[in-house]
Symmetry: C2
């Protein structure tokens, strides 16, 4: 096959592989077909397949393991606990977060919430409130909002510490990236109570929107965090 149209071949292949991934064509735990097999299937050279996969690896959608194969990146317990978790001790090490669910209910979504999730206005959302402890201290109060349509019966399940793993395993929704916005706030009565702080202890509030493979917003997560022993850590390049 030759490069036709104006978009490079490897980008076309990348999109085709990406579509195949989303359609569930390959089992989540098995390796993808080898580069040479994909090359003959798509009728391009192995180097072109390689470049396409390079991109998907860079996007953290696939990963390679020499000698074993190429695999779909999953949110499993270990990574999921840390990959999207930016709170660290002052020395840069990361604590293991525990979580306790405070409530889980359904309610009508507010206008701006539905808009952020790109769902019809007024759709029912599932709201989860939980408290997270780091090194035993209550540090984070977290409100999670998802569409009930996309996650039927999520509210009737046992909710694990790592929700993104559950989203993937049970609902075929794979979180690949997220955007966070941080501001500073003072605690209301609920926060004071659960986080065991006074009304003059300032908090950071992190608003996250998490996106799936299709780049669709899937979850809103608002975390109020006490930043005494812990800080929000971020790298710039």
């Amino acid at each position: 096959m030759q490069q036709m149209f104006n978009t490079p071949l490897y980008l076309q292949i990348r999109e085709q592989i990406f579509d195949a991934l989303r359609s569930g064509r390959w089992a989540t735990n098995d390796p993808l077909p080898s580069e040479t097999k994909l090359a003959s299937e798509f009728d391009v050279s192995q180097g072109t397949i390689r470049k396409a996969i390079d991109d998907l690896v860079a996007q953290n959608i696939l990963y390679r393991h020499q000698g074993r194969g190429t695999f779909i990146r999953r949110h499993d317990e270990q990574q999921s606990l840390f990959r999207f978790f930016n709170l660290a001790r002052a020395d840069g090490t990361k604590p293991v977060p525990e979580s306790m669910n405070l409530h889980c209910k359904t309610r009508k979504g507010l206008k701006h919430e539905c808009a952020a999730l790109q769902r019809p206005t007024g759709e029912r959302l599932i709201e989860i409130l939980r408290l997270r402890r780091l090194d035993g201290q209550p540090v984070i109060l977290e409100t999670i909002l998802v569409s009930q349509q996309l996650f039927p019966d999520l509210n009737k399940r046992d909710l694990p510490n790592t929700l993104y793993e559950l989203y993937g395993d049970e609902y075929n929704v794979y979180i690949t990236r997220a955007e966070e916005q941080i501001k500073s706030i003072l605690p209301d009565a609920t926060m004071q109570h659960h986080l065991e702080i006074g009304k003059t202890t300032p908090l950071i509030e992190i608003q996250r929107i998490a996106y799936d493979l299709h780049n669709q917003p899937v979850e809103i997560r608002i975390s109020q965090c006490v930043t005494g022993d812990f800080v929000y850590a971020c790298s710039l390049n």
Copy 2:
């Protein structure tokens, strides 16, 4: 040339190119020698040079421009204003920051400051205090600390809005990455005065350590920011 020893050729080449960059072998504004020239110089194929440069581009040390050549990434006015600037409006757009210098002096570094900069304890540091305005409002109070040894007479200069450009142009110190830690604080009297806020307005405090090409810490920067109309924005992958 063949792959010898156990490290891949392209990594060896990458390090050699990197060394050449640091030694100032190529002018900062001219393109590097073309891939084919580098290939014959290092006696490897063009594809291997390409892979080496790919890495340096991914690290944001070089950039390519098709048809023109490969260049050293500089902190120039435009990018520098935004590249390491994570405050955004709630809708995600970025304001143009202005800055006003409040003072610039030298003083003996505290123990933890010298340690963070990997300089001898008690060395003299240059301290710059400035106020930044976004959309006309005073939003950020910023304290900058660098070694006087590394930046002689910096305190006697006119300080531009984009310091990293000055570091590169005048001191051959190129900032390539930074680490930030964020926590929430209440303002002291100085902050209240300059940021025009009351004592109950919570702020976020960003502590940044910026690193140069050698991966040496070069600058400490502590910013206190009002997060009313602006938020700290960050992407997770």
